[in-house]
């Protein structure tokens, strides 16, 4: 029987030197860049790119099966890695994000610890990656400077993803787009390497470099059906979570459109502002958040300017536009899980002419009952001709059912 509140293992300052931090694969491109930055500060990190049935297997064994699919996969992937024999179990730590919102996801870290205990691995420290001060690890501190650089990594990651989606379906030479992604990541990592201070000048250079890289790819010039992907953040981005949805759509001759990760960060930060506005909660938090919000927004706009009027590439959407666009649909107070942002992304896609949208979520996702499935009818009503399907992901959901529904949407689109 477990005892309560036994102290969970702490990631100490010494461990920074000795331990490798394992990162579950949530967003392939963005996380790689983030790791490149953290490595500059002396952390050893490894992004898990494992797949295969044993991940789900470990998840099912270690997490309450009614818990949502992402928890199951994230924890399954980490436990799977620990059992792989690849790591010295005395020199490894884990990291998990924790948003502290009203959705179950805030509890992943506790479920992770329970799972470690069940496997007799409670000595392995789990680091909480959060900005709310929910938990802290003495050996893992994110300084404002690091935050600032991670922000850049996210912006670059979003940009790479955005451009990749636009070239990949049309590339003349197979693999050219993926090569561009790899090139960009390696160039950026090299630029970041050893630099603990950099600013917008370097960023400008890197933006140009990334855009240049993708502009050089030869395209066929055909036109394909655009399919937007929105949803719960893990299943939206992680191929492990969505049965390689992106690859499937590509094989079905579609172009994927996917709003980026930075939007999610902005949405989270906006919560404090909204709490003040709606309920008269902390003014201090609202003022601070507003400042950060504006700052990040200005950084995002810098990229938008670079892409503005680009002969080849469609621009990203300004977050303020997404935020304003959603107002006729749902109150900005709906802020659990992906909250109003999810509705906002569907609206944004519909407005920008993407008429086919897949709303992804783990089976039984609580916020998505409201902000996803609950809003679809309304969006369709207000934007005739837009087709939205909702797909549930789950260890037991079969791919054929998911793909058949997507095929139906695509058949109608052609």
């Amino acid at each position: 029987m477990q005892t309560l509140n036994t102290k969970s293992a702490v990631f100490t300052e010494q461990m920074k030197q000795t331990h490798t931090i394992l990162v579950p694969n949530m967003l392939p491109i963005q996380l790689k860049l983030m790791i490149a930055i953290l490595e500059n500060y002396g952390y050893k990190m490894e992004l898990l790119e494992t797949e295969g049935p044993s991940i789900v297997e470990y998840g099912l064994k270690n997490v309450h099966n009614d818990t949502c699919y992402p928890a199951l996969l994230v924890i399954g992937q980490l436990i799977d890695a620990l059992h792989s024999g690849k790591y010295d179990l005395n020199k490894v730590a884990l990291i998990l994000p924790q948003t502290g919102g009203g959705c179950r996801a805030s509890n992943y870290i506790h479920l992770m610890r329970k799972a470690l205990k069940n496997n007799g691995l409670e000595h392995i420290p789990v680091i909480s990656l959060n900005t709310m001060g929910l938990e802290s690890s003495p050996g893992f501190k994110i300084t404002p400077q690091m935050m600032y650089q991670i922000l850049y990594a996210l912006i670059l990651g979003d940009l790479i993803m955005h451009l990749y989606h636009q070239t990949r379906p049309y590339e003349v030479q197979t693999g050219a787009s993926q090569k561009a992604v790899d090139n960009c990541i390696s160039v950026i990592s090299k630029e970041f390497n050893g630099r603990t201070a950099f600013g917008s000048r370097l960023m400008d250079k890197l933006y140009d470099r990334v855009i240049g890289e993708f502009s050089a790819i030869k395209l066929t010039g055909e036109s394909k059906v655009k399919v937007g992907i929105v949803g719960e953040i893990y299943v939206k981005f992680s191929p492990l979570g969505n049965n390689n949805l992106e690859e499937f759509l590509l094989s079905e001759n579609a172009e994927v459109v996917m709003p980026g990760l930075l939007d999610f960060c902005l949405y989270c930060i906006y919560g404090d502002i909204q709490d003040r506005r709606l309920y008269g909660r902390s003014l201090k938090a609202a003022v601070a958040s507003k400042a950060i919000y504006k700052f990040i927004l200005s950084k995002q706009r810098r990229v938008l300017e670079k892409l503005k009027g680009h002969p080849r590439f469609r621009n990203m959407t300004d977050f303020e536009e997404t935020r304003r666009g959603v107002k006729p649909y749902i109150n900005l107070g709906a802020q659990m899980g992906e909250g109003w942002l999810l509705t906002g992304e569907m609206v944004e896609l519909a407005h920008s002419g993407v008429r086919n949208i897949i709303c992804t979520q783990p089976f039984g996702c609580l916020p998505n009952h409201i902000v996803g499935k609950g809003m679809i009818r309304q969006i369709k009503e207000k934007n005739p001709g837009v087709n939205i399907i909702s797909i549930d992901y789950d260890p037991g959901a079969s791919r054929i059912n998911q793909e058949n529904r997507i095929k139906l949407m695509l058949a109608a689109a052609k």
Binding site: S106, Y279, M336, F363, K373, Q378, S398, I400, A411, A412
Partner: protein, 984 residues
């Protein structure tokens, strides 16, 4: 050469082939493929040779299993719904809506207005397959079930979400003796309801409706239900002759637009090529490496046997046990040395009474004058019915019966798992008493009978089917969720061309995984303890037994009478407790025994239970389906204190409150968090000069009113009910409805944060986006937080000054102040009532059930009268919110940030601390947060040395599983006390 267009529709269960020449159908065929998708397609093509040879063939495949074949053979494919739409537009252009039900998919297409095509979600299960499954349950063919349904007199409510749920509703009806005719029609009605809620999702079905697909073509009873439910007539409802072939025909039309042409030979070749295609499914290890290993396995299990003696050779006393389970009836007669004299195992065939009577007569005949039955006991789902019908001496809860029997084979048994037709039961044995009972939730149920139904649908008996799996080389990994999901995994495997052996073995592994990871939720084999006894008919299959041992990496004991254990245990119990003679009906009385049943709806209270009145010979009556004593006519028995009933009655006062006439009205739905906040908002509007109209008390009819605007079929039942309440308010003619969004709940200082769950927090948003009636009603859904009265007064003024005329800042401030007072008074009142209840329990030495749920669980339609059931077992009932103030904070291992859920942790602590109290946690199906709280509560309770009980509830109105749990809990508590007494 003439051109011919060929459409082949390969669905989940059948292959349909249509050939079109010069706009005419020249050939059509419809056959089941029994999972041999590719072979069947080739076979059917060959059968059509005469028609196809020497033609220029253009072909297209369609259907869920057609996709893989098309890919493998490089043949053109068209998505089936799309194919359907094309053909309908072509042939029947005045159609407004198409409803197509297939083997496992259901589709709807809206043609007029905004074009919309939809398929059932993942959780909506099969339709044709569902009907097949139900027919098996009724022990009739699907065609017979159709016949029966036409003679129905009444309809029962059967959960329509998916097959598994429906089954849980049908089974008790059968056991209670409801008429098959009525059940058959109710099953079809469930299909209709599912189509309307799951598929149409609120969009109306009007105009000319075209019905396609096999089930809608073949089942007249299903057609009738659609006619009545949608209010259609001969003109608007269309059931064309071509229905089963429509999709294939659509594919044929699509084929006419393709470029590739085939000859008969080249097409056959292309199809044959696919038969040998490598597949992509995940595979598992084989169950046995070789024959030798299998033989050793069989030998080992032979050792766990009972002594058998022929009844005709025995004389002396005998004891009878009857286990009337959900799908099967088992009987065992034992002698003085526990030897098995006679046994019986059979499917209920819809009426267990007939079977038991026949068997009793047979036993009496064999007993002659030599053997005297000195005691008998009944157990299982039908325990009460059998006990009453035949005057049995004892009735015992099935967990006790199973434990009794398991002990016989393994005196130091630590863990028992029983997988029967419908249920999976596991329990740990601790200090020689039953502890920690785990029953499958509705969602993973039906596993034993799932294999059976599946085997039958493939044309095998279950024994044959499982046997095929024993030597499978590459069992398929089918996942471990509910059987509906397994259905789709099987479909996927079929698509990939997996052989039957591998599917069979894979299914066995899945059933086992389901038991281990869904029901028992083991982390390692050691969790189960040293000595594991497995039983239940399902374990008689070696493939399942082997999968279980493999998965557990441990050898277990399977008694040779695995399927009879309940009956054997009951017989042992009867022997132990006999008074020396039995009250059972005599041979003559049994011979004269008759039975008839009629069903009525109880009017005793708002639960309106579906009662079945069984009338036996000598005019004896037995009523089943009741939750309380009322309909039994024993007069008003003394009602024990029950906080659920108390709170609900207090809220009803608000509903019945007379309105003051000419004041303006505002409607408030009695749903979700408003079950707690009604006193607050009622007072608030009262002070502002409004009459508050409360929607009312939920019941099934209220749910039905709103069911067609529910956009997410996996949301919890309490949320689904909200739609009905809004409709109720609309009917009551209110022009304003107030229902605030609340991210935050009360901060009660016992949690890290004070959130509501996302569904409670933002459900008004969903209503406003999906409910038509709200377009003509002013729907006020401000975002409010109640933790800071001053801030609320400010935000409320900002909000209401826009909507309510002439309201001043002072008015609002006064209303807010008064509202807080009302809320405080309400809280104090229920805490006081809880204290009194506690004292009452103490004075009368009564056990206490701390029934921990959320405020809205007091809704009788949500808890299905569980609180009444508990008091009928002699426990007083407390609720989580009222005991929360009576104990200290509880520390937990998880992020504790939802107010309602954090109360349950405190309730668990309270239950641990209070002598005579037990925690019973209510969990609504689909409550994701409870996935976290249940584990945590279990830990708190078990650490305190008590037994954790969880009751999962949904729209299912069946308390069978709940009864077993509560009775087992009481039994375990009593045993525990007895043991403690002995020690002292």
């Amino acid at each position: 050469m003439k051109e011919l267009f060929l459409g082949i529709d390969i669905g989940s269960t059948t292959v349909k082939l249509v050939a079109v020449e010069e706009q005419k159908i020249v050939y059509k065929k419809y056959e089941r493929h029994y999972s041999k998708v590719r072979e069947k397609a080739c076979e059917m093509l060959s059968a059509a040779k005469d028609c196809l040879k020497d033609k220029l063939i253009k072909v297209a495949l369609t259907g869920s299993a057609g996709l893989g074949v098309a890919k493998a053979g490089g043949i053109s494919f068209i998505q089936e719904v799309f194919a359907t739409r094309k053909i309908v537009e072509e042939m029947m252009p005045d159609t407004d809506v198409v409803i197509e039900l297939g083997g496992e998919d259901a589709k709807i297409i809206y043609l007029s207005g905004e074009l919309e095509e939809r398929m059932n979600g993942t959780c909506a299960g099969g339709t044709g397959a569902f009907i097949d499954q139900m027919a098996v349950l009724l022990d009739v063919t699907p065609a017979e079930m159709d016949e029966l349904s036409l003679k129905a007199e009444r309809l029962y409510t059967i959960a329509s979400r998916c097959g598994v749920f429906a089954k849980t509703d049908v089974q008790p009806l059968l056991n209670q003796g409801a008429k098959k005719e009525d059940i058959a029609a109710s099953i079809f009605q469930a299909v209709v309801d599912q189509t309307l809620t799951g598929l149409a999702q609120g969009r109306e079905i009007t105009g000319n409706v075209l019905f396609l697909g096999g089930p809608l073509h073949f089942f007249k009873g299903l057609q009738k239900r659609f006619y009545e439910t949608l209010d259609l007539n001969e003109k608007t409802a269309r059931f064309p002759e071509i229905a089963p072939f429509a999709v294939a025909l659509g594919a044929a039309y699509h084929a006419s637009n393709t470029n590739e042409t085939y000859s008969y030979e080249s097409l056959l070749q292309a199809l044959q090529k696919t038969a040998g295609e490598v597949n992509t499914t995940h595979h598992l290890e084989p169950l046995f490496e070789n024959e030798q290993q299998y033989r050793e396995f069989v030998e080992r299990h032979k050792k766990s046997d009972v002594i058998h003696q022929n009844l005709e050779e025995y004389s002396g006393a005998a004891y009878l046990g009857v286990d009337c389970g959900s799908t099967t009836t088992k009987m065992a007669l034992i002698g003085e040395d526990n030897q098995l004299l006679y046994s019986y195992y059979s499917s209920n065939k819809g009426n267990p009474l007939v079977i038991v009577r026949e068997q009793l007569l047979e036993i009496y005949r064999l007993c002659g004058d030599r053997v005297r039955i000195k005691g008998c006991a009944a157990t299982g789902y039908g325990e009460e019915l059998i006990k009453n019908a035949f005057h049995m001496d004892f009735g015992l809860v099935e967990t006790v019966a199973h434990f009794r029997a398991a002990k016989h084979f393994c005196p130091n048994v630590d863990f028992i798992i029983d997988i029967g037709g419908q249920d999976m039961k596991c329990f740990k044995i601790h200090n020689n008493c039953i502890d920690n009972i785990m029953l499958n939730e509705a969602c993973s149920s039906g596993c034993g009978s799932f294999i059976e139904t599946f085997a039958k649908s493939m044309g095998y008996t279950v024994q044959e089917f499982c046997k095929r799996g024993i030597m499978a080389k590459r069992p398929i990994d089918l996942g471990s969720r509910c059987t509906v999901f397994m259905n789709s995994s099987v479909k996927q495997a079929q698509k990939d061309g997996a052989p039957l052996e591998d599917i069979s073995a894979g299914l066995s592994v899945s059933v086992v995984k389901n038991a281990l990871y869904k029901v028992i939720r083991v982390n390692s084999a050691d969790d189960l303890g040293e000595n594991v006894v497995v039983q239940g008919g399902t374990f008689l299959n070696d493939a399942i037994l082997r999968s279980f041992e493999k998965e557990l990496k441990k050898e277990v004991i399977r008694p040779s009478i695995a399927g009879l254990m309940g009956a054997y245990g009951a017989a042992l119990y009867a022997k132990e407790h006999t008074s020396g003679s039995s009250t059972m009906l005599s041979q003559q009385q049994t011979l004269e025994f008759t039975h008839s049943a009629k069903s009525v709806r109880c009017g005793g209270c708002t639960n309106h239970c579906n009662l079945t009145i069984n009338i036996f010979s000598e005019n004896r009556r037995y009523i089943s389906g009741n939750r309380c004593e009322k309909p039994l006519g024993k007069g008003e028995s003394k009602q024990l204190p029950d906080m659920y009933a108390y709170k609900m009655n207090r809220l009803k006062e608000y509903i019945d409150m007379p309105t003051l006439g000419n004041r303006p009205k505002v409607g408030i739905p009695l749903v979700l968090n408003l079950f707690e906040l009604l006193p607050f908002w009622y007072r608030f509007f009262d002070v502002l000069g409004y009459d508050v109209v409360v929607s009312g008390v939920s019941n099934r009819a209220v749910f039905n009113k709103g069911q067609n605007s529910i956009p997410s079929d996996t949301v919890c039942y309490p949320a689904k009910l909200v739609h009905g309440h809004v409709e109720l308010l609309a009917e009551k003619g209110v022009d304003t409805i107030f229902y605030p969004c609340m991210t935050y709940n009360f901060n009660e200082g016992h949690s890290d944060n004070c959130y509501n769950c996302p569904v409670v927090a933002y459900y008004p948003e969903l209503l406003s986006a999906n409910m038509k009636c709200l377009k003509s009603i002013r729907f006020l859904m401000p975002y409010f937080e109640l933790n800071d009265p001053k801030a609320l007064a400010a935000t409320a003024y900002n909000y209401f000054s826009k909507y309510l005329p002439a309201v001043s800042r002072t008015d609002i401030k006064k209303a807010v102040d008064e509202a807080y007072k009302a809320q405080q008074a309400w809280q104090n009142d229920i805490t006081d009532a809880a204290r009194k209840t506690l004292e009452y329990a103490k004075e009368n030495n009564l056990p206490i059930a701390v029934l921990a749920g959320r405020p809205y669980h007091i809704d009788p339609e949500i808890n299905h009268g569980i609180n009444q059931l508990i008091t009928s077992y002699g426990m007083v009932v407390l609720s989580e919110d009222c005991v929360c103030k009576l104990t200290e904070n509880q520390k937990v291992n998880v992020l504790n940030q939802w107010t309602y859920h954090s109360r349950m942790y405190k309730a668990a602590k309270f239950a641990v601390e209070t002598p005579g109290a037990q925690l019973i946690q209510l969990v609504s199906f689909g409550c994701g947060i409870d996935a976290i709280t249940t584990d945590e509560n279990r830990e708190i309770v078990e650490r305190g040395g008590k037994i954790y009980t969880q009751l999962k509830i949904d729209d299912i109105n069946n308390l069978g599983a709940v009864k077993i749990r509560i009775r087992s809990l009481l039994e375990a508590v009593a045993e525990g006390e007895k043991n403690a007494d002995i020690k002292h």
